[in-house]
Amino acid sequence: MTSIINRLFDIRKGEWRRALLMFAYIFLLIASVMILKPVRNSLFLFHHGAGRLPYVFILVALFAALVSMFGRGKGGKWKTGHQMHGVLFFSIASLVSFWFVLRNSVEGGWVLYLFYVWVSIYSVITAAQFWLLANRMFNAREARRVFGFLGTGAVLGGIFGGYLTNMLVDTLRTENLLFVCMGMIVACILILQAVLSTHSAEKRKDRSRPKMTGNIADDDNPFRTITGSRHLLYLAGIVGIGVIVATLADYQFNALAADAIDDRDDLTAFFGFWLSNLNILSLLIQVFVTGRVMKYLGVRISLFFLPLALLTGSVAVLAAPILWTAIMIKFSDGAFKHSINKSGVELLYLPVSDSMKKKAKTFIDVVVKNVATGVGGILLILLTTAFGLPLRAISIISIVFILFWLMLVIRVKDTYIDAFRQAILKRTIDLEQQSINPDDAALTDTLVRVLEGENERQIIYVLDIVKEFQNKRFTPHLKRLANHPSMEVKLRIFEMAQNYVELDISKEALEMVSCDNVRVSSAAVGYLCVSSNAPLEELRVWLGDDDYKVQCSAMITAARMWKDDATAREELSIGDLIDEMMTKINAPTTPDVKQPFIKLRLAELVGASGDPRLFSYLKDLLVDDSADIRCVAAKAASDIGAMEALPIIIEYLGGSSTRKCAIESLAGYGEEILEHIDAAIDDPETQRKVLLRIPRVIGMIGAQRSVDTLLERVDNDEDLHMSYEVLKALNNLREDFFDLKFSRSRIEKLIEKEIHRYFTILDLTNRIMDRETGIRTLSIPGGRSLPEKGIRLLNRVMEERCVLSLKRMFRLLGLRYHPGDMYNAYRGLISPSQTLRANAIEFMDNILSPHLKRTIVPIMEDFHGTAGGGGPTAPKGYRKPEGDDPLEVLLRHGDRWVRISVLYLVGMSGYDKCGPIVDELREASDPQLKETADWCAGQIRAAG
């Protein structure tokens, strides 16, 4: 039995208990509803007739709104479990009361209206609570599989309840059927108890499970919660329109059936026969189709089934309003509503935070559904009674609603993925992502508040944003910030002030001219010059200052002016300024303490001038003893585009104190240096630690040639470390420079290759050792066993290679999809939280193209430990590595570190079959590989 269920629904180890309990719960719940509804309908129709039905529909909607308000006011504060218990106990009490009143023949009055409304509310609330609990019991991945099984429980419950009513009604009489319902509800209470205790145990197992966050602020008002989220709004729209269309379809079915069948008993038999068949069809779809649709087509496609079926039915009724088309439209609704569509709609709630889900789901299931029923009722009264339109006209209205419904289904996929993305990201909105409109009062208010605050980082961030705008509201704040204790803030203010007409900070600038921070001092001098009537005269005053630090700052300002202003170029001689500095550096009277300062300023001055002819002044500075001076000189060389400095700066990549500035300086050269640094990769003289930093430099140069250069380097089986650095650089390019093109087919080929690499690693590992049991599966001829130490190392190395391969896969996917999304999905996958891991897989399942999804999602599930057993299935076209001996295969085709680990294992076991390859590896250029091969050969000889 379990194997059949497994085949149909793919329920996995650890899910069975929860799934079976929930199945039993929904089975009994729906069975009770299916007993109550016929009792309600027969009593109401018998005493009040069908003509009163539209009014009771509206009454149901009103009561639903009241119940929802209560739910928010009181019930909203209770936990789901308590709420469910409360509702079930209240239901038993209500049923006892109804039975008592109905038995004492108070029939035909207000009690039947109340009973009708009560049954409607009971069926909606209990089912809504069940699915709410199910959402909490199962994570996104589990839900995708288990919800189909639970849906089957609901449909089976419906069939069982219907048949039970037919069987028992003659024996027990209508009102006594309420006792059968009470028995079922008591069973539900007991099951609920077991469900909740199972859930508590699961939660304890996963204590790290954080609450998911949605993409909108949490709000107490469910209406605001829904209208505040596009995703929930679309979801509510889908549910609401679905109910309106179903109400219209139901009316068409009833009316056409009543038209075609005159006899009341025949009509009852007709309803009974077709409704039972409908439940069976629904069950068949639930069992055989829903799970597969969810697994292979996903949420979005599943939501198309019901509206498209109803569209077909409506068109059929529009073309020929006869009994068979009525049956067709009823079948369209009944077959998919409680199966595929129900599972799809429930999955839409998954990325919503727990607290929001609780409010929104109850509101949608109770208020939206019932209001929609009320709207359907009003529409019917208007169309049939007020306007006297025929049934065909109802089909036209249905078709209009269905088209709108389909539009919402198309849109909800994006919001679904977005909501998952937000749930994974868990980050606040980035100011930088907003397009800044300086006239936007609300935005200006926000920025001003930050400028008024004390957070230095935020202030700097806002200053960087507003530096282009001249808004009067910022002026007093900028003036005040000129006295801010942070030099970074001051620097930005003095730089901004040079272009900010209304900002007068001369007093503050004068105070900062002689400060120790040359960037600030130079910016202050610059501001004083620019704001003066005669900038060059002002500059000369500062150049002649007694303080050598002020002089240096003024020289840098002069170089900038010289670079940007043609008049300054005519009036100033940059060569003279540099000579003056050189004289100062070389003067025996200049104290040693001043020399580094002047050297740094000299480098800055050359950089500020932007003139490549001044490179000769940097030569000595680039090889200075001080790393600080070397760095500033490298930056200056980059600023003036001096290609002569390239070999030295590339070498800086190997030094920890110069690496950062070397990367920035090299990237500052731009596209022109790509050829040179690419050549450095091929140069055997290039140190490895330099080599590994080169991709990062290329990744900062936003040119198409950078992408092409890196793509040429990414496929490197010999050096996975280097290849990974190349991938990181490509990801940076993709993220930072949107206009660059990444060949989709090329990337997909690389992804495919990486997937094959992953399976090769798994294959070879399994041939050496069972991944799950840890038992050695490889035996060596001659009765020798593989040594523990060696096998442990190799196993660890192979595991690391699996993780690295997965990481590379995500990096490659980051070139095909949004790199930030892929990064976050990867982080989610390796997270200790089960929920985050499941969300990551669900997210990828929705975002990947079908052919990638087929292979990558099972790999993720295998990594996640939720694969169905036996590990993931290899993709089409995958060829197992050739060769009988996995150790030989690894020695021939593994990367350097895998080879070293295998050599160690071979050496420890004295396995002479690998001797010839070991001898080949003794000639390797990699010193570690050669060293281990030598050692291994010695061990084999000793063992032989």
Partner: protein, 141 residues
Amino acid sequence: MLTTVEKVILLQDIDLFEFILTEGLSQIALIADELEMTQGQIVFREGELPDAMYIVIDGKIVVTREKKEIMTIDEKNEFGTWGLFDDAPRGITATALSDCRLLRINKEEFIELLSDSPHLTESVLKRIVKRMKKLVDRFMT
């Protein structure tokens, strides 16, 4: 003399290196020197400034504080680990209890290696954080 991979075998069981990939351990192996000590030879003294950490390849080391024995360290175990990060004088003396071979990781070279490799730094920090969490948990309970 141990090969790089043999050093890796030793390093993979050291607590501080728990989260470092084996290939990363080979980088540490390259800066780890083999040291031979004779019985009674002092590895470092109480009050000396730390400049390395040690792993026992074979033999035994006795650790004392104010001449009182605190513990003995045998094969595959490390000592003086926090000397890699702490500039405070050693609080213990380590002496060879028998002839022994040690693996010595120089502090300066190790820090240089960390500054070269963000992955190594991240892994070492992860391990330190794990240790701190454990201490906090123990303190809280």
